[in-house]
């Protein structure tokens, strides 16, 4: 779960990582609290915010007001600006890079620092000589001497070395204390008057660990869904916690368990069809979520046919069948559904379909549910045939 820059900086303040004097404005009441000139930063989850127009400058409160008005409500790469971070401008002497993250190839946390900062990470990665990686043991903290030693390697000396050393310790403590996947300061700047300041923040929390960080809610940081650059359907799915991506084909893909979603798209393409979406149900989805998933496909005018597949593991066939039947009874859809159902609780699932068909044969005439003995490829081919 990515945090907005200003939220990350709130956490920085808790850890005594210096940030520019600032206010966050949704309206204009607080603009007297900063000294001008200021930088106005629209809070959106994109890189290169400068190029995208999300960052402006203002030399006076009046100019700030005008520019904030322009920024608020603007949609930048799909993200609406609802908050602007107003920061006092600092004179940059040099820019550096600091981060704490997890190396998934080694399964270890590490610090990454570079004496070349301020540019996009891909650019930083191109200067490996300036990059220092320091791996930590699981459970280990960064001792102050280690912070200083890394700061020293970044070419800091004397008082600046002590400050950067402390920031490195704090950064890593924040990373551990809040179950982060990433804490990044890019750039960390040395100002013209010798101060060390974190000019940007990038904090990525582990959504699965949020339950143990109730205090974040008190700070106004809550589990959220990033909905920039999303289509209407993608937003609906995201809000419901369903991984969903619109594609430009005509076969709606209704997968029945985690993981098979991406494989079924491959198969549809392989056999010459055009999938309309990628979707993943997650393990053991609720009835409500399953019906919402069907609805997303049915309501998409591009979709001509729905291909469905349930191989019941922890997601049970009977739950799946119940959801399909209820959706059909409630919504009386016209589009055909070509599906296959096998696995755990298959028999119970099949009974649910049989009873529904017996009572509402007209409603279910376009709905086919193949059994285990029909290979999935045959089902896909039939769905493709329907889509032509």
């Amino acid at each position: 779960m990515r945090l907005y820059e200003y939220e990350g900086k709130q956490l920085f303040k808790r850890y005594n990582i210096p940030t520019p004097n600032s206010v966050v404005v949704g309206d204009f009441s607080e603009l007297d609290k900063v000294v001008y000139p200021v930088v106005l930063k629209g809070q959106v989850f994109i890189g290169r915010r400068g190029k995208a127009g999300a960052i402006q400058f203002a030399n006076s409160k009046k100019e700030a007001e005008t520019k904030i008005k322009e920024l608020l409500g603007r949609v930048i790469h799909g993200y609406e600006v609802t908050k602007v971070l107003v920061e006092e401008k600092v004179e940059i002497d040099r820019e550096f890079y600091l981060s704490a993250t997890i190396d998934r190839t080694k399964h270890k946390p590490l610090l990454i620092v570079s004496s070349e900062g301020g540019m996009e990470i891909e650019e930083i990665a191109k200067k490996p000589d300036a990059i220092i990686k320091h791996y930590l043991e699981i459970g280990e903290r960064v001792e102050p001497y280690l912070g200083r030693s890394i700061a020293r390697k970044m070419e800091f000396k004397g008082d600046a070395m002590l400050k950067v050393g402390n920031i490195i310790v704090a950064l890593y403590n924040l990373f551990l204390d809040y179950d982060c996947k990433l804490v990044e300061i890019n750039p960390l700047v040395l100002t013209a008057d010798g101060k060390i300041i974190a000019l940007d923040s990038k904090v990525d929390l582990d959504e699965d660990a949020m339950y143990r960080h109730k205090e974040l809610m008190q700070m106004g940081i809550e589990a959220r869904h990033e909905i920039g650059e999303l289509t209407k359907r993608e937003k609906i799915a995201k809000k419901a916690g369903i991984p969903y991506v619109d594609l430009d084909g005509d076969i709606g893909v209704f997968p029945g368990g985690a993981g098979f979603g991406i494989a079924s798209i491959d198969l549809i393409k392989h056999f010459g069809g055009n999938p309309a979406n990628f979707m993943d149900s997650g393990g053991a989805p609720t009835q409500e979520r399953l019906r919402l998933m069907i609805g997303l496909l049915m309501d998409n005018p591009k979709v001509k046919v729905i291909f469905g597949a349930r191989f019941g593991g922890i997601s049970r066939c009977d739950d799946w069948a119940k959801a399909v039947v209820q959706y059909v009874l409630e919504n009386r859809p016209q589009k055909p559904m070509i599906m296959r159902m096998a696995g755990n609780m298959e028999e119970e699932g099949r009974k649910i379909f049989e009873e529904a068909i017996k009572e509402h044969s007209e409603l279910f005439k376009n709905i086919k549910v193949y059994k285990f003995d029909t290979p999935i490829e045959e089902v896909i081919k039939e769905a493709i045939k329907e889509s032509i």
């Binding site: 990686k133 990525d204 993981g259 098979f260 991406i262 491959d266 393409k269 392989h270 191989f311 285990f372």
Partner: protein, 293 residues
Amino acid sequence: MSIIIDENVQVIVQGITGRNASLHTKFMLDYGTKVVGGVTPGKGGEKIHDLPVYDTVAECLKEHPAAAVSSVWVPPRFAKDAILEAIDAGIKTVVVITERIPVHDMLFVRKRAKEKDALVIGGNTPGLISPGKSLVGMLPKIAFSGGRVGTVARSGAITYYLANSLNLAGMGESTSVGLGGDPILGANFEDVLRLFEEDPETDAVVMAGEIGGVYEELAAPYIKTIKKPVVAFIAGKAAPKGKRLGHAGAIIEGNMGTAESKVEALKENGAIIAETLSEIPELVKEALCGKQQ
């Protein structure tokens, strides 16, 4: 033989009193898995499907000293604790069904597992099955039949369809292992490939990966050294491209994680690449014939 589990292995169930755990314990028992007991802290003394429930893994092992595998079904916030308890009590194989375990918890668990030489499979694994012998987890038994092909995949459904395809083509599985879908996993492709390489009843291995993560790339160098044929499949080639990482991951992982990167790494190291799930059985057959000539 088979890997990890066979007809004799005794299994315990942590979190046995939960809805899913209880249901799948029944399925495991029906399949013939030797489930000997369950653990739910605070519910010691109860019975589930005639199995004794204990307060702690240690107690359970005291009564069932031969139990060698634990499957973990507890809610995610208790998963780290349950896995550590199992490892600490001496369990050498922990199958973690629980999904969405915090990543720092899994890092901690991995470290402990390494120290204690335990194999942790998952989290978010469907489990594993040695068809006809033992099933641990919640894989649908209908998808599998016994044979001499080992399979290892990340996602549950791909595990099932893969076995299904092999079976329709007249082959069967020695063992099918689901690695799980969480971002930080215990056992990786390489761990399981090593076990298959040593298993006299496995002739060939199919590994099914997918886009995202680095586990397929990490297994590639080992594949170069393996003697048995490895057929590899990467799901998600047609999936929409993800965005660039835009953060520190770029420095560590570079271009890993794409279907191209994975396929290339596997191919370079001698894996036989299947373009679709459907062509896997044919490729396995060819590879085995090639071996026999």
